[in-house]
């Protein structure tokens, strides 16, 4: 089985990239292949790259409080291009917003304070799940 391919990016204007880089390193050390697109990426850029890179999972991180609006844009763009790649959102996400994100189609949400091994496991499990059902 090939390694899980994870595409990570920062949508919106937020520059807090400590968390996403830590997750990138954690995934790498757990055997995943990680592509990090960097800051201020549009939904079009993120899903375009995810398809080009044949990603199994897409992960984004938002610490500006704009997670709901940005997740809406990301989920809409994923539908528009007809992709089924699971989307994981991390950041300063209060519990009720996490429910809203899941309801709109985000596969997993990890708020600040989540333990790194749990985040890594969750992403790898989503990748394995997609591999199995593909």
């Amino acid at each position: 089985m090939r390694p899980t391919r994870v595409l990570l990016a920062k949508p919106g204007l937020d520059g807090h990239d400590r968390g996403i880089k830590v997750v990138a390193m954690g995934l790498r050390d757990a055997g995943a292949e990680v592509i990090y697109l960097g800051l201020r990426r549009t939904p079009e850029e993120i899903w375009g790259a995810a398809v080009d890179e044949d990603a199994d999972v897409v992960g984004v991180s938002v610490l500006s409080g704009a997670h709901v609006a940005l997740a809406e844009q990301l989920v809409a763009e994923r539908s528009r291009i007809g992709s089924d790649i699971p989307l994981v959102v991390g950041g300063t996400v209060p519990a009720e917003d996490a429910d809203a994100l899941r309801a709109m189609g985000v596969e997993a949400v990890h708020a600040v304070g989540a333990a790194l091994p749990d985040v890594v496991q969750s992403v790898l499990a989503l990748g394995a799940e997609r591999e199995r059902t593909a």
Binding site: G12, R18, V22, L39, S64, A66, G113
Partner: protein, 529 residues
Amino acid sequence: MSTTDTTDAGIPVAPVYSDADVAAGLAERLGAPGAPPFTRGPYPTMYRGQLWTMRQFAGFGSPEDANARFHFLLERGQSALSVAFDLPTQLGYDSAHPSAVADVGRVGVAIDTADDMVELFDGIPLDTISVNFTINATAPIILAMYLVAAERQGASLPDLAGTLQNDILKEFMARKTFIYPPAPSLRLSCDVIEYAAGALPRFNPISITGYHAREAGCDAIQELALAMASAVAYSEALVARGLAFDSFAPRLSFHFATTMDLFEEVAKLRAARRLWYRVATERFGAIQPASGRLRFFSGNSGTTLTAQQPLNNVIRSTIQCLGAVLGGAQSIHVMGYDEAYEIPSEEAVTLSLRTQQIIAMESGVARTADPLAGSYYVEALTDELEERARTLLDELDAAGGAAAAIESGIPQRWIAESAYRLERELASGDRPRVGLNVYAADDDEPHLGEMFAADPGVAKRHAARTAERVAARDEVACRAATDAVSARAREGGNVMPPLIDAARAGATLGELADVFRLAFGEFREPALW
């Protein structure tokens, strides 16, 4: 790494310290408070002469929303203001810009025009209240708008006090709100410093910061070295313009984090002052003592706070605020205990301000200057931190200085590797954090007061307001003023005078940022990790 026998930055700690642990010549390394090398503080009587400035970082929504929060804080005894701008304002987009919509008014106030700045400070006399601006890539534009607002109040420029963050180098290292490539960005920062050196004698035109690198992951030693390397880079650029070091150095200010390792943080802040004095005199031949007298703002560390059991954060912030006071800070911000969830509620900011007031008025720690001086442990740590930071500063110099080191990704790597190490220590439990990896109770509901609720309508309303103002301005005059900014950007010379004219003529922040985008291009960072 165990946290029991080393400091947070990894310096080994003995169970007991004695005079044998403090190298000879301590008196010379300390000096008196207010005297070179300023280890003991920038002023002779420190807080007896003037208490630190309590400066809670605040701003959200529209200018009226943020103005209401400012009045709320001032009514509760805050002594100065510190403005948080939203990301579109920090990145040079008006509220109507398609890239801006999701972020308008979220992490700070939305400012499009000088009229917005007038509303932001409505009822707040700018000739008596000092104002801090956390703004960097668009710092020259924001300063221009602020000066127009002050002018409309009838305030005179020499009376204006405050601080503009304006430290673009650390944006490339850690904070990430850059717009233009490094070289023109550095030029804009220096234009502001040069302009202020003449026009704004009470204003700090830059706050050179190690704070953001620290919050992004690096340790206390790296934080010191990076701040010093940046200070050297700005100073060299200004000296290369023909300015005398002593003409601008007294107005350079600094910004450091104060985190949980109390004595290491106090030692770091004391070492920072000595290090800067030595850099100022040894490298730049400072003549005036004030040129080597480091003054700093300290923010508590948001990354040490937890979403779990959020009331624990009140205790963490108290310890950190105490560290900043024992380290001799000139102004302090205390985090809200609910910041892992939202921008702070009124209850949380009040508690942050009360934390400062209780330390100032009840604990007695402000009674005497540098109360930890002479502690064997603190002096040994101060010496060790200074020496280790000097070694790293030499490494950065060998890499070509701060700007070149950023281009080769050195600080970015320090920060990412250190952040990852810390996260693994938290996951393994080697680094205890109460409520997170020890004494964590899964069934505990967080105890939060009423949380801040963002206003979803602000982007549309603010964009409409700006559109009205743009429609009402004298278009010909405004166009001429922005053309003058463009010419100055391309042909050289200080951009501040034409920027102030353009702000007065009603040019928007987005328009002015675009003038520089056209002249300088935009920077896209390599995604290093």
